[in-house]
Symmetry: none
Subunit: 256 residues, 2 copies
């Protein structure tokens, strides 16, 4: 709950339009995943269902973020001034608390691992994800004291690094047992995950780089929104490709 | 319809975000249960349908609660003051009046008991549930006279104890005829029911424990919301696991 700066027409419109773009992307992906779920083998449908839940939940939250952003500013003398109503950034963290564990469930579900192995890996990943988001949330509100922001950010990075370790090292062993084309897709998916999730800490760091507070607000809002589109819609699409390939390979592709 | 206290930014945001988290959880669960209904044997689909109705109804009511909460406060001088518009807490009781009987139907339906036995048990459970909620509602509005609140609370506990008796003692006899893995799941489901429904009387008691009225409002709103997520989404998930297991055991799991 930090003080908002004045925004120019261009700055305000940029955030406004990117938020709206995100709502449209999430909504369209929600319908897409619900429909294409029927086009993969039965064993891989849960993974696609989780993809649709992720973008559905995100679509809801972007409506809330959009409305909160709109009501937090008022146009006066050609600039957007804070209206006094707070801009509730916490929606993002509420969203991540639900969607990030589901994104990890998607990846583990589409691999269709042995039950025990899958469950163990998921429990660890979910605990790490919840810690990562909770610790990041505490630091996010801090836009003036950079030491505090950096401390929480660093703490939040520890479970993030742990998630990367599980996905690369522990999951790497499992990935070796998959066919070559599936292996290729999993590698791309992991890189997308690293690249998109990497946007969050970078966006988080922005206010510490001596950027003025206006550009910093613009960069945070656009950075998080675009990263969310890639990490949810794009990532979900890759999970769908993996499910298609695996269905073709094991002959479970629906024929009608 | 009691007088609302001033709330700090942190207190207001906490309730606000937990209510929004609940909307997202209920909405995502609604889609999830509608879809996975097709993934269990035909005999168990009514149970999953009831799960989806429960979270759908709850999603609607949480939108109402959220909007009512938002309009009941106005930000002035850095604190949220009552706007004069009442915060309509009764939505919760309207919700429970519909969803609590359905939650009991879910449990009886997934067991797929003999028709007579199931019907008899349900009639008793539903009457008890309606009494429990009606009596609790009368006491809920009372935040100052603790004797009145306690009296209605005690009356409301009598049908609650009766429901526990039916589920543990009477249903216990039926549960013995189920396979070991189903028995294990039913036991977990009953414990979740007891643990989550137990939150309601505890939350109800809070204003009597000498807690200041601000903390009491925060605790009531977060306590009810989080208990609802566990008692509706979490409980529905367990009912789904029971349906899956029973479908696997009797060979009714859909193959395509």
């Amino acid at each position: 709950m930090h003080a908002l700066p004045d925004l120019s027409l261009v700055q305000y419109s940029l955030i406004y339009n990117i938020l709206s773009f995100t709502i449209a992307s999430m909504g369209a992906s929600f319908v897409f995943f619900l429909v294409v779920r029927q086009q993969v083998g039965i064993a891989y449908r849960p993974a696609i269902l989780f993809s649709s839940l992720v973008v559905g939940i995100a679509c809801y939250h972007y409506f809330r973020i959009f409305n909160s952003f709109e009501s937090a500013f008022v146009l006066a003398d050609g600039v957007y001034k804070p209206s006094g109503k707070p801009f509730n950034d916490a929606y993002r963290y509420v969203d991540w608390m639900l969607t990030v564990p589901l994104l990890l469930v998607e990846l583990v579900a589409v691999l269709h691992l042995a039950k025990d192995l899958g469950r163990k890996m998921l429990i660890r990943l979910i605990i790490a994800a919840v810690l990562m988001i909770g610790l990041g949330y505490v630091g996010e509100g801090e836009l003036t004291n950079m030491t505090t922001r950096a401390t929480w950010g660093t703490l939040s990075s520890i479970p993030f690094v742990y998630i990367l370790y599980v996905l690369w090292v522990q999951l790497g062993v499992v990935v070796k047992t998959q066919s070559e084309s599936v292996r290729g897709l999993i590698k791309i998916t992991r890189v997308v995950l690293l690249a998109t999730w990497g946007v969050y800490p970078v966006t988080y760091l922005l206010p510490m780089l001596g950027i003025d507070i206006q550009s910093s607000v613009v960069a945070i809002q656009s950075g998080y929104a675009l990263a969310d589109v890639a990490a949810k819609c794009g990532y979900g699409l890759l999970i769908y490709f993996i499910a298609r390939t695996k269905s073709e390979e094991d002959g479970s592709l629906p024929q009608a």
